[in-house]
Amino acid sequence: MAKIIVACGSGVASSELVVKHISDFFEDHGITGVDVEATDFKKLPDILASYDIYVWIARPSEQIQTIVDENNITSVNGLPIFTGQNPEVSYKEIISGLKGLSA
């Protein structure tokens, strides 16, 4: 199972919106086997390491970037999805990240 995480302030509104869009995108394309979850920034450093792809809407801090690098996580700018301006850019990066995963 591939795992994607999105983070925002409370893990409620913004991240959930992005999660919903990504899930809808997967559903529309019949893509399966991907878990998309929302969380809040306070929790993120503790759980990020176990995910495959991090879709961010706030630029990763140094601490987050270190975790991303050390655990070989694909980090994707989710702002295009969040604002609705050219979301395809983010989707492509997510798909490329997924394809790069090993079976």
Binding site: M1, A2, K3, A7, C8, G9, S10, G11, V12, A13, S14, S15, E16, L17, K20, H21, H29, G30, I31, T32, G33, V34, A38, D40, F41, K42, K43, P45, D46, D52, W56, I57, A58, R59, P60, S61, E62, Q63, Q65, N71, N72, I73, T74, S75, V76, N77, L79, T83, G84, Q85, Y91, K92, E93, I95, S96, L98, K99, G100, L101, S102
Partner: protein, 519 residues
């Protein structure tokens, strides 16, 4: 006519958990959603209401007796339980005319963009709820729905102007161009502005402060579950409970704190089809024009200063709640003061020391706001039937959003002269803020050496682009390469597949069930 009246009354009397999802279903179907999706959205909304009722009642049942016992021991009157923004938002969404505020927001934004009065296009449809809530507050004081819409309208206009004024600062703080945060909470900067100007005279306030290390140390206390447990156990001891009873309260409090955001997520899931349709409509009409896209505040949440400030303010808020005379609110679910910190971050340009000082000074404003507005929140909970509030108990929100604006304008429309005066003063304060924010230096250049933080983010970008096996690149051999479609995420992994070759129409049926990055 009588039949119609009977039908309308019957539908209204179904109660919020049935009535609002019904409206949701009609709107979603009207927005062209597939039947399956509109049914799901409507049901999810109903589930969200019931779920929130469950959690708020659970919280009140476990916290209230302890709060009562503690109040008795310390001679306090903490009878208002704090449901936080998630709880208040849930109750607000169940208000019967809630959905009217989508078109109101769209219409005002549409007119202001067309007339070039703003450059902000607000696509943040989640925070429509704080306009609904303002309406409810005004209605409570004035008993006049029209005034409610007027004040909500004023709020929308001010938010859009705030979006214009914050944009360049947000770009500087986050490195993201073209986005802004036209959020109601940023308007608290009107109150913070004079205080912040006074801090200019204190030399140490003009020094930067590295918050990254501090964030790592205290970050754990900001976790909802941990914080709930700590408050629970403290409350238990304060109430004179035994150790075992206090520990049980700790788990119950942690449960409530953990479940709040989980339930709130359901609202977002349910409302997203409407939100998408609305923001899609706006974007279609202003396509190709240079606008700032207005989104919710978490795009700023990458700044450590924000989290360090709210976590340090948690004990401050608890202590103030104990010692402020007349305070009735026991801070709990809303204790992370997001209603303060976003405005403070933007206004001070992420200066940690200033944010802390301002937070300390203004914490009483929020607690008194919460005390003052507790009857309104309680009343709203009762009229919508979402939460059972027992006699002698109140429901509130310890970090009540925009207590200044809501109090002044609601009371002004109720015809109180002091409030009319303060509203005018508030508006002048906003004009001062607007002018000042347009000419003040950008956050990264404002203080002596505040460059560290922004260098941090810049450095990440550089690393990202150079990391790609930079050693193998022959600088004489670059001619004709096209980086137009590549992006910085082409990072570490050698197994990485370029996203350029992916055709989004050709993905159907992919299954990642057996994949993961761990081999």
């Amino acid at each position: 006519m009588d039949v119609l009246k009977t039908v309308v009354n019957y539908v209204l009397n179904l109660g919020a958990p049935v009535f609002v999802p019904l409206i949701m279903f009609i709107l979603a179907t009207g927005a062209g959603l597939k039947l399956k999706k509109s049914v799901l959205a409507a049901l999810t909304l109903g589930v969200a209401f019931s779920g929130m009722t469950l959690v708020v009642n659970y919280m009140m049942d476990s916290i209230s007796p302890a709060a009562k016992a503690m109040s008795k021991i310390f001679h306090l009157s903490l009878n208002a339980i704090d449901a936080g923004w998630t709880g208040v938002a849930a109750i607000t969404w169940s208000y019967k005319s809630a959905f009217l505020f989508f078109p109101l927001l769209l219409a005002i934004n549409f007119v202001m963009l067309t007339l070039n009065w703003t450059k902000t296009l607000n696509v943040d449809m989640w925070n429509v709820w704080n306009k609904i809530f303002t309406y409810v507050v005004v209605l409570y004081f004035t008993h006049n729905a029209f005034y409610g819409f007027i004040v909500a309208g004023i709020q929308i206009v001010l938010e859009l102007k705030a979006g214009d004024m914050w944009q360049r600062h947000i770009e500087d703080l986050t490195g993201m161009p073209g986005v802004t945060v036209p959020h109601f909470v940023t308007l608290f900067a009107v109150i913070l502005q004079p205080l912040n100007k006074l801090l200019d005279f204190i030399p140490i306030m003009n020094k930067p402060f590295d918050s990254a290390a501090l964030q790592k140390k205290i970050g754990i206390f900001g976790d909802n579950t941990v914080m709930g447990a700590i408050i629970g156990v403290l409350l238990g001891f304060g109430a004179g409970y035994s150790v075992s009873k206090s520990l049980n309260l700790a788990i119950q409090a942690a449960t409530a704190m953990t479940l709040f955001p989980m339930i709130s997520k359901l609202f977002m899931q349910a409302l997203s089809p409407i939100a998408d349709a609305m923001s899609g409509f706006m974007k279609k009409h202003f396509n190709g024009r240079e606008v700032y896209i207005g989104v919710d505040w978490p795009i700023l949440a990458g700044r450590n200063e924000l989290w360090v400030t709210v976590i340090i303010l948690v004990p401050v808020m608890l202590i103030f709640a104990m010692i402020l005379p007349g305070n009735t609110v026991l801070p709990f679910a809303g204790i992370i003061n997001l209603s303060f910190v976003v405005a403070a971050l933007l206004l001070t340009g992420a200066n940690l020391l200033r944010m802390l000082v301002l937070g300390f000074i203004t914490t009483p404003i929020f607690l008194y706001g919460a005390t003052y507005f507790a009857p309104i929140i309680t009343n709203l909970a009762k009229t919508t039937g979402t939460v059972k509030v027992h006699a002698g108990q109140q429901l509130s929100w310890s970090t009540f959003e925009g207590p200044d604006f809501r109090l002044f304008f609601a009371k002004a429309f109720a015809g109180e002269w002091w409030a009319i005066g303060l509203s005018v003063l508030w508006l002048l304060g906003f004009v001062w803020l607007y002018i000042d924010q347009n000419k003040i230096k950008l956050p990264s250049q404002r203080y002596d050496k505040l460059a560290t933080a922004t260098q941090g983010t810049a450095a990440i970008n550089v690393n990202d682009s150079v990391k790609n096996d930079a050693a193998d690149i022959n600088l004489d051999d670059l001619d004709g390469m096209d980086f137009g479609a590549s992006s910085k995420s082409n990072s570490s992994s050698s197994k990485k597949i370029s996203s350029d070759n992916i055709n989004l129409n050709d993905l159907d049926g992919m299954d990642f069930g057996s994949k993961s990055k761990k081999e």
